[in-house]
């Protein structure tokens, strides 16, 4: 039976080796996050560094484990749009309540 090239399941999933490599990177980033949390020298820049590291972990899981990197772009769209709205809601509420001030 012929498979449609547009079928959702036609995207090539990463190999087990790629999954393990991603898990390794996620582990290292988590160790770095916890490590710099305890280093006083990092306190001044801790929040932006942690947010960047966290965003990297988030992106790795979404791209490789949730397969968005290899999947149809429509799936990325229906995920990224609400995610952007959620981020906007968070920032708007923080601004409204003067958390940054």
């Amino acid at each position: 039976m012929t498979e449609s090239p547009e079928s959702t399941s036609q995207h090539a999933h990463p190999t087990a080796g790629a999954y393990l490599a991603v898990a390794g990177v996620l582990t290292v980033i988590t160790l770095v996050e916890v490590g710099i949390f305890y280093v006083p020298a990092f306190q001044a820049i801790l929040a932006p560094v942690l947010i960047i590291l966290s965003a990297t972990k988030f992106a790795l899981v979404v791209m490789f484990y949730m397969h968005l990197r290899h999947d149809h772009p429509l799936f990325t769209g229906v995920f990224v749009l609400p995610l952007a709205i959620a981020l906007a809601v968070v920032v708007a509420l923080l601004l409204l309540f003067g958390v940054f001030g």
Binding site: V78, F79, V90
Partner: protein, 197 residues
């Protein structure tokens, strides 16, 4: 028969179940975005009771975070095993994923019980209300995920989880990974940044 063949024809060429599930995950982004925003807005505004600095246990939560990350690895390996029709490893990885989820819930139960003993409850202050609501909602999602995974495990034992059902496992995996990425954000925003501030 492959999962692609099993998928019915749609105008987009995409499986309706998977598209609907991504839309559901999008709505979940809004739910957790609101819960995280509420936590951040009220953080530091408690006038009584324990606060973030006094009560959060970073080493314990770091271990539970690692546990959840590894459960995501087990989940993708389970999907790979189901896709190639490997029954033994499908069961091993599904059980491992569910088991790691149960371990995470155990850590959360330990944390909640400890906090209550230290005087932090849902009603005692704004930190307690927003913290338990946020992490409780997340824990509830993990519990649903564990039940879902165990259901798939039982279906596998019954011989009803072949490669033709891989899409069902992929959708369960999407849910599980989403629960993982939400925790990635909670761990950073609620535990690491707020405790250091």
């Amino acid at each position: 028969m492959t999962q692609a063949v099993a998928a019915h024809h749609t105008s987009t060429g995409l499986d309706n179940k998977k598209l609907a599930f991504w839309l559901f995950i999008g709505s979940e982004c809004l739910l957790f975005g609101s819960l995280i925003a509420t936590y951040l807005v009220y953080e530091g505004r408690s006038i009584s009771g324990p606060t973030t600095h006094e009560i959060l246990n970073i080493p314990v939560t770091s271990i539970s975070t690692f546990d959840l990350l590894m459960s995501s690895l087990a989940m993708v390996l389970a999907l790979a095993a189901v896709t190639r029709g490997d029954k033994l490893w499908s069961r091993v990885w599904l059980a491992t994923t569910a088991g790691l989820g149960v371990v995470f819930l155990g850590f959360q139960a330990y944390e909640f019980v400890t906090f209550v003993h230290e005087g932090l409850t849902l009603q005692v202050n704004l930190f307690g209300s927003t913290f338990f609501t946020l992490t409780g909602f997340h824990g509830g999602h993990v519990l649903v995920g564990v039940i879902w995974l165990l259901t798939l495990f039982v279906r596998s034992l019954q011989g009803k989880l072949g490669p033709d059902k891989a899409l069902n496992v992929e959708i369960a995996g999407l849910y599980w990974h989403f629960v993982d990425v939400v925790w990635i954000v909670i761990f950073t925003v609620v535990y690491l940044i707020q405790t250091s501030a």
